[in-house]
């Protein structure tokens, strides 16, 4: 079996019924899809299979042999966040961050499909199967709507990623 994950093609050696989630995380070391429930209930494992959001915990890898998979690692450009990423960042739509990969993948698919501004009920429908225990959802829905309207700043990705916390500048401080 072969998968193209975030543009890179790989030969897969896991058994055919292995959930795509485990292939991504454990065989390919692509760890942004999370194992929140492993039974289809929470949405943290959502990835795009040929552009469509799918729960990777319920998808046997054999069922997507040859497909092109996009995970959060493959969203945005090397130095610049995508509009959905930038909106989640700027509008505080990620708290603990555990649901964020699944949310951003589903939101990205929605906006790509619509090709223009998305309305609140469309966001609710697209993210309906995604749990977030931290935010209360309001900021997430606002972020997706803003991203679809291009109402986001131009957020540069940070040069520092794995090695420690990036330094933060305080903008708009009253002091």
């Amino acid at each position: 079996m072969r998968l193209t994950v975030n543009g890179i093609e790989s030969e897969i050696s896991s058994p055919p019924l292995t959930p795509l989630l485990h292939v991504l995380r454990d065989e390919l070391d692509v760890t942004s899809p999370k194992a929140g429930c492993q039974q289809g209930g929470c949405g943290t494992c959502t990835v795009l299979v040929d552009g469509e959001p799918r729960r990777s915990c319920l998808t046997p890898v054999a069922a997507v042999d040859g497909a092109s998979i996009t995970t959060l690692e493959g969203v945005g450009e090397p130095e610049r966040l995508s509009p959905v990423q930038a909106a989640f960042y700027e509008k505080y739509a990620a708290q603990c961050g555990f649901c964020t990969p699944g949310m951003i993948m589903a939101a990205t698919a929605l906006i790509d499909r619509k090709g223009g501004p998305v309305e609140r009920d469309e966001v609710l429908e697209a993210l309906g199967g995604h749990y977030c225990r931290c935010t209360g959802y309001v900021k997430i829905v606002d972020a997706v709507m803003a991203a679809s309207r291009g109402e986001v700043g131009d957020v540069q990705d940070l040069p520092v990623s794995e090695a420690g916390e990036p330094s933060v500048e305080v903008h708009g401080s009253p002091a």
């Binding site: 760890t31 943290t44 966040l81 603990c96 961050g97 225990r133 990623s161």
Partner: protein
Amino acid sequence: MKAVGARLPRYDGVGHVTGRTRFVDDVRVGKTLWVKALRSPHHHAAITRLDVSKAAAMPGVHAIVTHEDIPRNVYGHLEALGVPGDEPLLAAEDVRYLGQPIAAVAAESEAAAQAAVEAIEVSYEEKPALFDIRKALDPDAPQIHHWGNVYPHYGSYNHRRVRKGNIDWAFEKADVIVEGVYRPQAIEQLPLETQVCTVVPEPDGRLTVYSCTQAMYFSMGVVAAHLQWPLNRLKFVGGTVGGGFGGKVDTATDTICCLLALKARRPVKWRWTREEEMLCSSTRAPWHIELADAVTSDGWILGRRTLTIHDAGAYARFSPYGLTKHAFHHSGAYTIPNLRFDGFVAFTNRVPTTAMRGFGVTSVSFAVETHLNRVAEAIGMDPWELRLKNANRVGDTTGNGVTLKDPSTVPVTLAAAERVGIELPAEYRAMTSDPRGGDLLPEHLAAQQNLSELNGGGH
């Protein structure tokens, strides 16, 4: 003051939105073994036989631990605060809740570990179980611990007490007595990241613990106590928690992973399934709260009697501390000069309960605020006015004798009324937190304030 009032970018925000934040489950260490636990299938039982020899001989199994492998098999989170540990890390003689861990296996894969768990030979003798805290104090209730069904260490009492003023006088003087029973239920914190831990044995004999704990130093102390090790042999890596909400204050996985890593001499990882998280992780405590308020027909709360029972589940964990906070808050944000509070931490055969947002306080606040609405209804007074009249003012004293210097009940209540579009009478809108006087200082409150001055302010 660069931060207050500014919209600060989250320091971890870019990591979250790019998928690069490394949660415990994302840590990659070569040759890691997987952990699974044998858990009690009964709510309450004696373990009559435990034999892991067949399981240990199974393919792919590297280590099994039971209570015999633990240098100190006592889980005592609050020992430093004087709360004695009462919980085994792995059950030895009795199991007291469904899902209680008895043994843990480290093996090459999750499937191999699970197969070994199923091969452990164990038998039980079931005991009657107790689930209703209202029955915990009955003489014929099933006994959970050999010392009984309540946590017994509140000084010389077996329960938390608050005594203030003269409660009998208040109930004699009252025009109306309003009673109510409130029973907030257990709630699972339900973080999206289940309990997870990776432990790596280092070449220098130390252990590196990748922990999802909400409380690094608590967990470090708990692990060190179990292992009987000095803290400097443990390196904890954490701070990236995929949601906790109180449930990750308990040290659920760290020590068992340490023991298995030491025994197997390999890195080990334990990631709870969603089912384990729902069935076996601690919850917010259920409570049984009885309130009786002695009230005058013009809206003064002269006194309050409280009986509260906190369901600790099978073991104490943080419950004695939660009940103390509960006791402190049982008069709410209001001044009540005569109080009699009795609070019990009761044991049942439910999963042990622990912290969750506003631990011990949200339960009693729910009861108090609901009760105030009932009081208002009983005397035919607007509930906002009842609250504003009795709201804490500068110079009022709390149930535990603290004289308030900067209470915020009045401005907060007025702001809340405004936000929800309630038009209060002008005399109420003009209220402040200033010390009581005139109509707001009836005789019974004046007497209390004089007393507090005599006592030097009651600090």
